[in-house]
Amino acid sequence: MTLTVSDLSITRGGIPVLEGLSFQLRPGKALILRGPNGIGKTTLLRTLAGLQPPLEGTIEGAEDQIAYAAHSDGLKPTLTVTENLTFWASVFGTSGIQSALDAFDLNELADRHAGNLSAGQKRRLGLARMLVTGRPIWMLDEPTVSLDKNAVQMFADAVRAHLAQGGSALIATHIDLGLDGEVLDVGPNKAKPKPIDDFDGGFL
């Protein structure tokens, strides 16, 4: 399912943050969302996920297709890692908890309460939740916060596997994940896609 965004304008607290945003996210592709703090990356992801209406413009192909991972992971501290994942798998009507545990190396922590995990381990569990949703389009907001080098690699591998299965991902991040994808460079009231290599060259 291709996500098509046309002339999108979004607001945060009634103030326009991005205007005239157009892009396409095709199956098997990743789009890296970059821009300075406060530019509206989170607001854009929330709008695409359907949590808030756009001011103008259209979003096609998003209906019941998007798995959204916000800054907060939606984990319950008094439930175990497995119980947290089982709950979200039931809500989305999927299975595959074991493969999610494997992908983020959570097997040893499976019976531990989420409240007893470190920040990085919680983040891994939050990302494992994306796998159990079974949704094709991932929207990830700063997914690598608190992750160590190995965990970032695990995450990048999970995204690659997802893309290989025909999924797509829109990722707001400030680090290079080594993914084969385009960069959506958002600035004040405008946005245009650039190839990832050019951007990285300029960025570094």
Partner: protein
């Protein structure tokens, strides 16, 4: 939907889940009433239905601010809003879980607390029946209040101020059923009114709760 209900029940029973807080509050309020009004059994017997109803109502109110706020704080509410579950179902299940963990224990405890207030024997049955019919409305109205105030810092007090006036019809007819039952009077009219209020709130308020929740999540 079942998964959400089971998760909420599990969370309520685990450490820090708050199960039993409402019950303990109900017990303490009921025990304190004779200290305040004096030990005359005839006076206690007269005010028992009203006091028990008011105690149950305030105990119900106590746990409302956690109903949606915890899910909002940890981001679950955002994720549930993007899940293939209508928000109307989410708020209905939340209200049901609240009733099962707060309302139902109050209903079951009420007869024992009725003994402490010298509730007349015929009143026990009608007290339980009136609470059984009335407490679901309190959970559903409470969920609406929680949806209105979710995301507000220190929204608990505002929640109480918003919800208490909405509880008035339920309190009037619920306490009236218990009072009439205790004095062996006809209870049909207030009982039907109470059941009507509960049926209407269950049918209509989840839509309102989901609508305000959608606005508050923006």
């Amino acid at each position: 939907m079942i998964a959400l209900l089971l998760r909420d029940l599990k969370l309520a029973f685990r450490a820090g889940g708050g199960f039993g807080l409402g019950l303990a509050f109900f017990l303490i309020v009921t025990v304190m009433v004779p200290f305040a009004v004096g030990p005359q059994s005839s006076l206690l017997s007269t005010i028992a239905p009203g006091v028990l109803w008011l105690g149950a109502l305030l105990a119900c109110l106590l746990s409302l601010d956690r109903l949606l706020a915890l899910d909002w704080e940890d981001g679950s509410l955002d994720l549930l809003a993007t899940a293939p579950l209508p928000l109307e179902s989410v708020v209905t299940i939340k209200a049901l879980a609240h009733w099962l963990t707060t309302g139902l224990p109050l209903v079951l405890a009420a007869p024992f607390l009725g003994v402490l207030l010298n509730l007349p024997v015929p009143g026990f049955f009608w007290l339980v029946i009136s609470l059984l019919i009335g407490t679901p409305a309190m959970s559903v109205i409470g969920t609406f209040g929680a949806a209105l105030t979710v995301g507000l810092k220190r929204g608990g007090l505002l929640l109480s101020l918003l919800v208490l006036p909405l509880y008035v019809p339920t309190l009037i007819f619920g306490a009236e059923v218990a009072r009439r039952g205790a004095t062996e009077m006809e209870v049909q009219t207030p009982l039907l009114m109470l059941a009507g209020i509960t049926a209407a709130t269950i049918a209509l308020l989840p839509f309102a709760s989901a609508a305000v929740l959608r606005i508050n999540l923006r």
